[in-house]
Symmetry: C2
Subunit: 327 residues, 2 copies
């Protein structure tokens, strides 16, 4: 059997899938099928919705759809507390989806944990499963635990359980989790215990924040749910150097087992497409930051670095922080 070997750029392309625009060619075709989602009193859009989703959505009364302008506006009846009334309106909208006969696959007739709309000017959240329907930025935290041995650096790599809903049996980063209303670092501390049996004390003292990765994915079969949903994502990245005697082992049913892999074994897993697709780019980023992938050994070095730090087509901070309003 011949397995086509994936390059690092192939792995980036698998993840960062939403097309880039050519500013000299005018508005690209793909934008014409997208509706922008707006919060009240804010000229910046906070979500990118597919036309097919806007058509099918059982809209409730606090949402105004304009098919000519291709916009969806949340217009809450109660304007005294926007944080509360907008979160409420979004929650009712999810309930309407759950109650609908033809429910979206990503919602799966279930409620899920709240995800903040991170660029909003007031605290507002939407349920995790619904956030992809609205094309809102979702966030995760990823930790790579490694150890320096006499044979060189090794990385703790888990294999996902065959029972996982998404990416069963795939290789993954040491610890990873979606971020609900907590701080990214708190998420990593909690998940490190839950997924890899790493103590809170050890992680608080030794895990180092190393940046974030951003990309715009499009939902596919392995991710479950409707195809082609626009999925802007930010992953906050942590490194944790472990003493040789500390062992990662499974602590919940999401992980099958852990292996302390050599760099060559991780490279092989990447080339063979064994990693969960966003975890693959966390590994690539780790390799870039630790001098394993360099400009001298990777022809697409600058392209890869830029692509995994994509400026998202949505705001990531409240407008009063002085970010230039280009989207």
């Amino acid at each position: 059997m011949i397995t086509a070997s994936k390059t690092y750029l192939d792995l980036v392309n698998d993840c960062d899938q939403f097309p880039y625009d050519d500013p000299l060619a005018g508005v690209a075709e793909h934008w014409s099928s997208i509706y922008c989602f707006f919060l009240p009193y804010d000229s910046r859009h906070h979500g990118l919705m597919l036309s097919s989703i806007v058509q099918k959505m059982p809209w409730t009364e606090e949402f105004q759809i304009n098919h000519d302008a291709r916009t969806v506006h949340l217009v809450p009846k109660d304007k005294s507390d926007l944080a509360e009334s907008c979160t409420d309106a979004l929650s009712k909208q999810v309930q309407a989806c759950i109650d609908s006969e033809d429910c979206f696959h990503v919602i799966d007739r279930r409620h899920s944990e709240p995800y903040p709309i991170i660029g909003a000017n007031f605290p507002v959240h939407l349920e995790r499963y619904a956030s992809t329907l609205f094309g809102i930025i979702s966030r995760g935290a990823h930790l790579t635990a490694y150890t320096k041995t006499s044979e060189g650096m090794k990385i703790w790599v888990p294999r996902r359980s065959p029972k996982c809903f998404t990416y069963p049996n795939c290789l993954d980063t040491t610890v990873a989790g979606g971020i609900s209303l907590e701080d990214p670092f708190e998420c990593i501390v909690r998940e490190s215990d839950e997924e890899a049996s790493l103590s809170e004390d050890l992680v608080r003292k030794n895990a180092i924040a190393c940046g974030c990765i951003s990309y715009v994915g499009l939902n596919d079969a392995r991710g479950g749910g409707e195809m082609g949903l626009i999925s802007p994502d930010i992953m906050y990245i942590y490194d944790l150097e472990l003493p040789i005697e500390v062992i990662c082992h499974q602590n919940d049913d999401e992980v099958k087992d852990f292996t302390l892999m050599t760099i060559e074994e991780v490279k092989k897993g990447l080339a063979e497409g064994e990693f969960k697709k966003n975890s693959a780019i966390v590994m690539i980023d780790f390799f870039i930051r630790h001098g394993i992938i360099t400009v001298e050994n990777e022809p697409n070095y600058a392209e890869i670095v830029a692509r995994i730090h994509r400026r998202l087509p949505l705001p990531t901070t409240a407008s009063h922080y002085g970010v230039i309003d280009t989207v």
Copy 2:
């Protein structure tokens, strides 16, 4: 005297100055004053030239200008060896600039070292001073030397000589240099000796490649030369942890002196705008990779990370490496 304190985002804005496009608003005004520069047999443009430069340039016969399409095409007479004939044609063009009565300020009637056009499909180069006129990607290498002391991490920071043509008296990264035809790592090895008296052996063994920074600047007064030239730049980044007994000291006349600064002192230098502007974002990148700037203490975290890893509006690799052709 009150000095306005610069935020990290202000420092990024000082460096990454070329506007971002809003794909929903059509072609932005600024593109209509730009000419694209093309190499033969390649549909991707490799430079972004200001209209005023195209008008003033004393064009030689191997360049074809189309004012309707706003394009400049290099069409070499000899098509048997494109690398040689294109490099030759660019060299003659620089000579024509030097010979012209009204010579460009950036060229300053002098030849300079060759800079490769990095995204080209064959090896071709243009002189450093002229590359900004053509709006071609230029490249540098930056090394941050640091040491772990009982008072925490400290960074070796040089002050530029008052005699420097650009950014006199400013603070800088430990070692930095423009990359001519050599590999980025070789550039850093050479410059580490020349600028900071760090031995080749020490740098080869201990310097670690940590990624690259990319942004699109616009030439201003402190950079010398014509204003508003489009300056896409890639900086390859290296970290070097030094034993406490190794001292950086000046070895050429570009550096006035070195100080081993605390993190707080570097932060103060950044806030007061004391750093050379692209060296400021090298420091910001270092702070992000070492857990000093985090998402919990910096509201513009994701925006800053994306902005200092901008996908340049020009190709960075030859087209046969499979990069999606969006520009």
